[in-house]
C-alpha cells in the first residue's frame, strides 16, 4: 500500500508492521523520480510493507524528530521503531532488499 499521509496519520499507522516512510520535497528532482520507484516497490512487495509519503515542508516537526537533513530520505520502521535508513535517490533493488531483510 502506498499513500500520501500527514503527521497524525503517520503516527497512528506506523506503530505496527513494516512501514517505509519517504520524506520528500516537491522541489526535488530525485524525490519525483523516487515516487515512480516506490510505485514499483509497492507492486513488488504487496502487503509486506506500507509505504507512506511525507511532504518534508508540510511535516517539518516530524522530519526534525527523525533528524532528516536531506531529501529524499527513506526510513524503514518495524513496529514503530526505525530499523534502517537510506538517503538520496535509490533504485528499486536496494529498497526491496532492505524490506526483505527487515
Amino acid at each position: 500500500m502506498l499513500k500520501e499521509v500527514m503527521e497524525d496519520e503517520f503516527r497512528q499507522s506506523s506503530q505496527k508492521g513494516l512501514v517505509l516512510a519517504d520524506f520528500y520535497s516537491t522541489a526535488c528532482g530525485p524525490c519525483k523520480m523516487l515516487a515512480f520507484v516506490l510505485a514499483d516497490v509497492d507492486k513488488a512487495c504487496g502487503d509486506k510493507v506500507s509505504i507512506m509519503k511525507l511532504d518534508f515542508d508540510k511535516n517539518r516537526a516530524l522530519a526534525e524528530e527523525f533528524g532528516i537533513t536531506s531529501y529524499p530520505t527513506l526510513i524503514l520502521l518495524k513496529d514503530g521503531k526505525e530499523i534502517k535508513r537510506l538517503t538520496g535517490l535509490q533504485q528499486k533493488p536496494a529498497i526491496v532488499k532492505m524490506i526483505e531483510e527487515a
Binding site: 516537491t26 528532482g29 519525483k32 514499483d40
Partner: protein, 622 residues
C-alpha cells in the same frame, strides 16, 4: 534559435592528432629542408602550444643536438638525437609568447639557430605566486603539476618560467614510463566526480601513443609494473560503490588481467573518516606496488588509513592509521606507536608510496584530524604535511621518522589532494596542492563548489627538501592534484610516429531500473534547456541546463527496447571532488555520458522533463 537539441560528432583526440601528423609529414615531404632552413611546425599535436617539430634532411647520417635557449642564459634545455638522415625532431620547453631561440648542432659540425615564435600562454596556465630556490640545485628538471580545478597540466622550470603546458584537461597522476612516455587520465569524464574513461599513454609533445579505455573507468592513480603492464585504480562495473577496485591492465591489449576488490578484505563502513559516505566508503586515492613484498599499498581517504594487500590473494596485510573506531577483529592489522618521539597518524591522506628500504610515505592532509566527530578539527586549526613512517611487521610497531609541514599550520593545509616524492634518503618533495582560503582563514568548504566567489583563494605549494633544508619552494594559484619533478626529454628520439592505438573497452553505462510510463508529447525539447548532444566513436555526451527540482531522464528508445538514464538536478550533487576540473560554475548545467557499449541498434533520443517526454530529433546508432 529552434527547438530541439544541437548535435555534433566529435572525432577522438587520437584521430585528430593522427590527421595533424599526416598533414605535417606530407608538408615536410613536399619541401626541401636543411638545417639552415628547416621545416617548423608549432604545436603539431594540437594540445601542447610550447612544443614544435623541426624537420630537415642531411646528406649523411648524423646526430643532432638541439638547445632550446633559456631566457638570459638561464634554463637551457639540451637534447641529442640519434644519427639519421631524415631528422624529425620534437622541440620541447619553449616559452609562451616569445621568440624562442633554438640551436640545431650537427655532430662535430656546423650549427644554426632558428627562431620559433609561440603564442601567448592561455588563461588556463596557473599563475606563479612565488618561487625560492638555491642556485646549486638548478637543473633541467621541471616541476609538473596536474589539475584539480580549472588550470591545466603545466610544468615550471627552476626559474618559475612555464616550459610545458597541455590545453586539454587530462588529469590525476602523471606516471612516467620506462620508455619516457607518461600515463595520465583522459579528458573524457565518465561520471562526475569520480572517474574518467581511462588513460592516455602520451609523449611529452602531448601525442597520444595509446588510449586505454577501462570498463570501470579510471581515477587517481596508476603505475607501470616491471613487465610493462599497468596497475590502475578503477570502479566495479556495478558502480554500487566507487573508488574501491584495482585492476591490472595488459599493456598491449588493455584487457583486464587481474582484479582486486577492496570489499573482499574490508567491510564498508568500518573506521569511517569525516568524509565517508556509504557509496564512496574507501576513496582509494593512491596505489604503490612493492616488489620486495609483492604487495600493493593503497591510500583510503575515507577510512583515514593506508592499507597493504597481498598481490596474489588480495588479503589484508596491515593498516597504517588511527585504530580508533575500527572493530576488534581489525585491530590486529594496526601498528602500535614505538618510542616517545613526535607522532601523528594520517587523516584523509593522499599519495602513499613505499621507499626502497620499506618506509611508508604519504601526504597527510589532516582533514578533521580525528575519527571521532566530536573531536573533528576545523581546517583552520589543523595542519597538513609530508610524513615518513617506518613499520616493523614482526613487532607490529610504527615509528615516525620524518615529517614536513606540521610547523606551517593553516598556511600549508590542504583538505584534499597532494602528494610526496622520494628521491633518495633525506631528499623528498611535498606538494600541498589543495590549499583553499575563504577570506582570512582556511575554507571549511571545497573551493571547487565556490568558484567565482571573490572571497575564495586557492593555492598550491610545492616544496623540495634535502637534508632538512628547503631547496625549492613554489607557490602557484589554483589547486593541483599532484606535483612531480621530471625531465622533458628521455634518451633517444622522443617522437614515435603513427596513429595512436585504442586498447581496452568501455564499460556499460548504468541505467535506471525504473522507467517512467509516459508517451512522447510529440514536441521537441524546448530551446530554453540549451541542450547539446555530442556523439563520439564509443559514447555520446548530453549537456543541458535544467532548474533544480526538475525531474529529468534521458531515454534511448526503439521498437524493441528502451533505456533510461536519470539525470540529477540537485544543487549538491557531489560528495567528493576528485575531478573538480570539470565542475560547472552554474549548478544548473548537467552532463550525462552514455557509452555505446552494451547497446545494439539505433535509438531515438528523448528527454523526460517532469511530466512531458520530449523528442530531440536525434537518432544514435550503437
Amino acid at each position: 534559435m529552434t527547438e530541439g537539441v544541437s548535435y555534433s560528432f566529435c572525432e577522438s583526440l587520437r584521430s585528430r592528432q593522427a590527421e595533424a601528423e599526416r598533414s605535417m609529414l606530407k608538408e615536410f615531404a613536399q619541401g626541401v629542408y636543411t638545417p639552415e632552413k628547416p621545416y617548423i611546425k608549432l604545436n603539431p599535436y594540437l594540445i601542447n602550444p610550447l612544443s614544435a617539430v623541426v624537420a630537415f634532411c642531411t646528406k649523411e647520417e648524423t646526430a643532432v643536438t638541439v638547445t632550446i635557449f633559456g631566457k638570459e642564459n638561464k634554463g637551457n634545455i639540451v637534447h641529442t638525437f640519434p644519427r639519421k638522415k631524415e631528422h624529425i625532431l620534437p622541440i620541447l620547453g619553449l616559452y609562451g609568447g616569445y621568440d624562442n631561440q633554438v640551436e640545431l648542432r650537427l655532430y662535430g659540425g656546423r650549427s644554426h639557430t632558428i627562431t620559433i615564435r609561440t603564442e601567448e600562454l592561455s588563461e588556463r596556465v596557473p599563475k606563479l605566486l612565488s618561487l625560492n630556490t638555491e642556485p646549486e640545485y638548478i637543473s633541467e628538471d621541471l616541476i609538473f603539476v596536474t589539475p584539480s580545478l580549472s588550470a591545466l597540466a603545466t610544468a615550471f622550470d627552476r626559474f618559475g618560467e612555464v616550459r610545458w603546458h597541455l590545453t586539454v584537461p587530462v588529469i590525476f597522476e602523471m606516471a612516467r614510463l620506462k620508455n619516457g612516455n607518461f600515463l595520465i587520465g583522459t579528458e573524457r569524464v565518465m561520471q562526475m566526480p569520480y572517474y574518467m574513461s581511462g588513460l592516455y599513454e602520451m609523449t611529452m609533445m602531448g601525442k597520444i601513443v595509446k588510449e586505454y579505455s577501462i570498463p570501470g573507468g579510471y581515477h587517481h592513480d596508476q603505475c607501470e609494473m616491471e613487465d610493462g603492464n599497468i596497475l590502475v585504480l578503477t570502479e566495479g562495473e556495478s558502480y554500487e560503490t566507487v573508488e574501491d577496485v584495482i585492476v591490472l591492465l595488459d599493456r598491449e591489449t588493455g584487457e583486464i588481467r587481474k582484479t582486486w576488490d577492496l570489499k573482499d578484505c574490508l567491510i564498508p563502513g568500518e573506521g569511517p573518516s569525516g568524509g565517508y559516505t556509504p557509496r564512496d566508503w574507501f576513496h582509494n586515492n593512491a596505489l604503490w606496488y612493492d616488489k620486495h613484498t609483492h604487495s600493493i599499498t593503497l591510500s583510503g581517504r575515507h577510512v583515514d588509513a593506508i592499507i597493504n594487500i597481498d598481490y596474489e590473494t588480495g588479503a589484508l596485510n596491515w593498516i597504517i592509521g588511527d585504530p580508533e573506531t575500527w572493530p576488534a577483529d581489525k585491530q590486529k592489522y594496526f601498528f602500535q606507536i614505538k618510542g616517545g618521539k613526535d607522532f601523528d597518524w594520517p587523516y584523509e591522506q593522499h599519495g602513499c608510496l613505499v621507499t626502497p628500504n620499506g618506509g611508508i610515505m604519504c601526504f597527510d592532509n589532516g582533514h578533521y584530524r580525528s575519527k571521532i566527530p566530536e573531536k573533528f578539527l576545523l581546517n583552520r586549526d589543523s595542519f597538513s604535511r609530508g610524513v615518513l613512517y617506518q613499520i616493523d611487521r614482526e613487532t607490529m610497531t610504527i615509528e615516525q621518522l620524518w615529517q614536513y609541514g606540521k610547523e606551517r599550520g593553516e598556511e600549508f593545509f590542504s583538505s584534499y589532494i597532494g602528494n610526496v616524492e622520494w628521491y633518495k634518503e633525506d631528499h623528498y618533495l611535498v606538494h600541498s596542492g589543495g590549499i583553499q582560503y575563504y577570506g582570512e582563514h582556511a575554507s571549511e568548504k571545497p573551493a571547487a563548489l565556490l568558484q567565482g566567489d571573490p572571497n575564495v583563494r586557492s593555492e598550491s605549494i610545492t616544496v623540495e627538501i634535502l637534508h632538512g633544508k628547503v631547496i625549492f619552494e613554489m607557490k602557484i594559484e589554483g589547486n593541483f592534484y599532484r606535483a612531480k619533478k621530471m625531465a622533458l626529454y628521455k634518451e633517444g628520439e622522443n617522437l614515435p610516429l603513427g596513429e595512436g592505438i585504442l586498447a581496452g573497452r568501455m564499460g556499460v553505462t548504468p541505467e535506471f531500473d525504473t522507467l517512467i510510463p509516459m508517451e512522447s508529447c510529440g514536441e521537441l525539447l524546448p530551446y530554453r534547456y540549451e541542450a547539446k548532444l555530442t556523439e563520439e566513436e564509443d559514447r555520446f555526451v548530453f549537456k543541458a541546463i535544467f532548474e533544480g527540482g526538475q525531474m529529468v531522464m534521458l531515454m534511448l528508445e526503439n521498437e524493441e527496447e528502451e533505456h533510461g538514464y536519470f539525470i540529477s538536478t540537485s544543487k549538491n550533487k557531489f560528495n567528493a571532488l576528485c575531478c573538480g576540473t570539470f565542475i560547472e560554475k552554474d549548478p544548473r548545467n548537467i552532463t550525462l555520458n552514455v557509452n555505446k557499449a552494451g547497446l545494439t541498434g539505433t535509438f531515438d533520443v528523448r528527454v523526460i522533463v517532469d511530466d512531458k517526454k520530449y523528442d530531440t530529433g536525434i537518432r544514435i546508432a550503437c
